[in-house]
């Protein structure tokens, strides 16, 4: 790197900031190594804190872009990351499940009985699929009708079922009521499966059965489907009888209040809740999600425990990888400040989600969030979705930016 006056200035500014950092001391345990937890571990460690990351899996398989894997446009290896860079950085990695949190003595118990104490705990367990919420849909049923809402074997199962389907078949996706992981995800998935069908099985159809009447980027998706996929994609909302109330997995039947729909390939995206440890530790409320303070991300139901990512709830931020990463950084800042005995300033957060409608066509939603009345509320006048009348080159640019975002965020979190 060429040394210039500017880099010297930057270096000296960093040196000036160093004494303040040296005073930040404390033991932080992070549970969960996804976009939220792994980010938090890295940024907390960078601040000089003693960080332990508890994550049972050796690899992380990322959900963003996994819809492209389902449609055969991408390989699962492009979704797969390890924790090697975090370990090189000096973060202590514990490859186990956290089985218990005893917050009264600030201690986590691992599956093997070993206990780890903390000054602050960051809980980033992501989601659990709620296999009790939809009659007929349990883990065994998901081997026949995959959810593919946690990337990995389920992603590949759905892809293989699509590949094995005869032309002329019907693919059905059921989408849950809010809130759930990745609000535009079911509709991006529908789009990319429609792309696969159009190019490989043109006599086939896709039906979305939805438990709600409105969804993320709805007008953009609906217009794009009509333009690109014609009658191939059909969406039935709640008031049209789209709510699935039971699943018959052996026969791939979705039951609604209005009747039954038989699929050749059935993708059930079931209701969700915060990851198991948040529920068992009593950090989630009756909704199944963890309410948080919008400045510190501290759980409203458990002091010293901060919840970030999909498991937390507290305002308008959607459950996305971008949100989890942004929350992790704001939470790391707050924890560092609290451990120095200071009050953290109010954060501002950003979310951006790109969805592919086809390989060279993407649409986005963005939002800016700030604390208001105890919640992380949308900053009025900011955010929104891509322009309805945008040109093909803008849609193509957004598809390129989606790629760029993925490279940047995965580098920041795992690289």
């Amino acid at each position: 790197m060429r040394l210039t006056r500017r880099t010297l200035l930057a270096a000296s500014a960093a040196a000036l900031a160093a004494p303040a950092l040296a005073q930040t001391q404390g033991k932080v345990v992070v549970i969960g190594g996804g976009f939220g937890g792994a980010s938090a571990a890295r940024f907390l460690h960078r601040m000089g804190l003693d960080v332990t990351l508890i994550e049972p899996n050796a690899q992380y398989i990322s959900c963003p872009f996994s819809n492209a894997v389902i449609a055969g446009l991408r390989d699962l290896s492009q979704q797969t990351f390890t924790y090697a860079a975090l370990e090189r950085q000096g973060i202590r990695l514990v490859r186990q499940m956290a089985s218990k949190i005893d917050n009264s003595v600030r201690r986590v118990t691992l599956a093997d009985g070993v206990m780890i104490s903390y000054d602050r705990l960051v809980l980033a367990p992501g989601i659990d699929l709620n296999f009790e919420a939809l009659p007929g849909y349990d883990e065994a049923a998901s081997n026949l009708m995959p959810h593919a809402w946690k990337a990995g074997a389920q992603t590949m199962l759905l892809r293989q079922q699509l590949e094995a389907m005869n032309d002329g078949g019907t693919v059905i996706i059921s989408a849950p009521a809010n809130p759930f992981r990745c609000p535009p995800g079911p509709y991006e998935r529908a789009s990319l499966i429609a792309w696969y069908l159009k190019n490989n099985k043109p006599k086939s159809k896709l039906l979305i059965l939805d438990s709600k009447d409105a969804f993320s980027k709805q007008s953009l998706f609906t217009a794009a489907w009509k333009e690109i996929y014609g009658d191939r994609v059909e969406w039935i909302g709640l008031s049209g009888g789209g709510k699935v109330i039971e699943v018959k997995a052996k026969d791939k039947i979705f039951v609604t209040e209005f009747g039954e729909h038989k699929a050749d390939v059935g993708n059930v995206i079931p209701p969700q809740r915060a990851g198991k440890i948040a529920i068992s530790a009593g950090i989630a409320d009756q909704t199944g999600w963890c309410p948080i303070d919008p400045v510190t991300f501290e759980a409203k139901l458990a002091p010293h425990i901060h919840v970030i990512g999909d498991a937390c709830v507290g305002g308008g931020m959607p459950k996305s990888a971008f949100s989890a990463n942004a929350q992790a950084k704001a939470c790391a800042y707050a924890i560092g400040t609290l451990l120095r005995g200071e009050n953290p300033a109010e954060p501002k957060l950003i979310n951006t989600c790109y969805s592919l409608v086809k390989p060279d066509y993407a649409i986005s939603v963005a939002g800016v969030y700030a604390p208001a009345k105890g919640l992380l509320a949308d900053v009025q006048g900011a955010g929104g979705v891509s322009a309805a009348n945008a040109s093909a080159s803008v849609r193509a640019a957004e598809a390129q930016y989606a790629d760029g975002w993925y490279k940047t965020i995965t580098q920041e979190v795992f690289g």
């Binding site: 601040m47 971008f322 955010g383």
Partner: protein, 110 residues
């Protein structure tokens, strides 16, 4: 490696992919940045804008003043964008200035 002196954010009018042509010094962001002194909103920028080479505009060739000026133009609508206009409206001129200065201090901008 010399940095390119000219730089544009991608715009919706003409050559939306202009920004993609800028091949910037691929310094790695493997070491996470220090967010302990970051002003509100600043750390979220890095979710898209890294120092590395991607399809998204890097901030590396921009000064703090360039970033502040761009944010003002996105906010006012004086400059088209695919997405930054929607983000910029969520930040006041003062917040944008503080973010731009922090990004420069952290080595994300020049």
């Amino acid at each position: 490696m010399k940095e390119r002196k000219t730089f544009r954010f991608a715009t919706t009018t003409g050559g939306a992919l202009t920004a993609l042509l800028f091949c910037l010094c691929g310094s790695s962001l493997a070491a996470p940045q220090d967010v302990s002194q970051s002003p509100p909103g600043a750390s979220a920028c890095l979710g898209c804008h890294s120092a590395g080479e991607t399809e998204l505009p890097s901030l590396k060739a921009l000064s703090a003043l360039d970033i502040e000026t761009a944010m003002d133009a996105f906010r006012s609508g004086g400059r088209d964008a695919t997405l930054m206009n929607r983000i910029a409206k969520g930040f006041t001129p003062e917040e944008s200035r503080a973010i731009a200065q922090w990004l420069a201090t952290q080595g994300h901008a020049k």
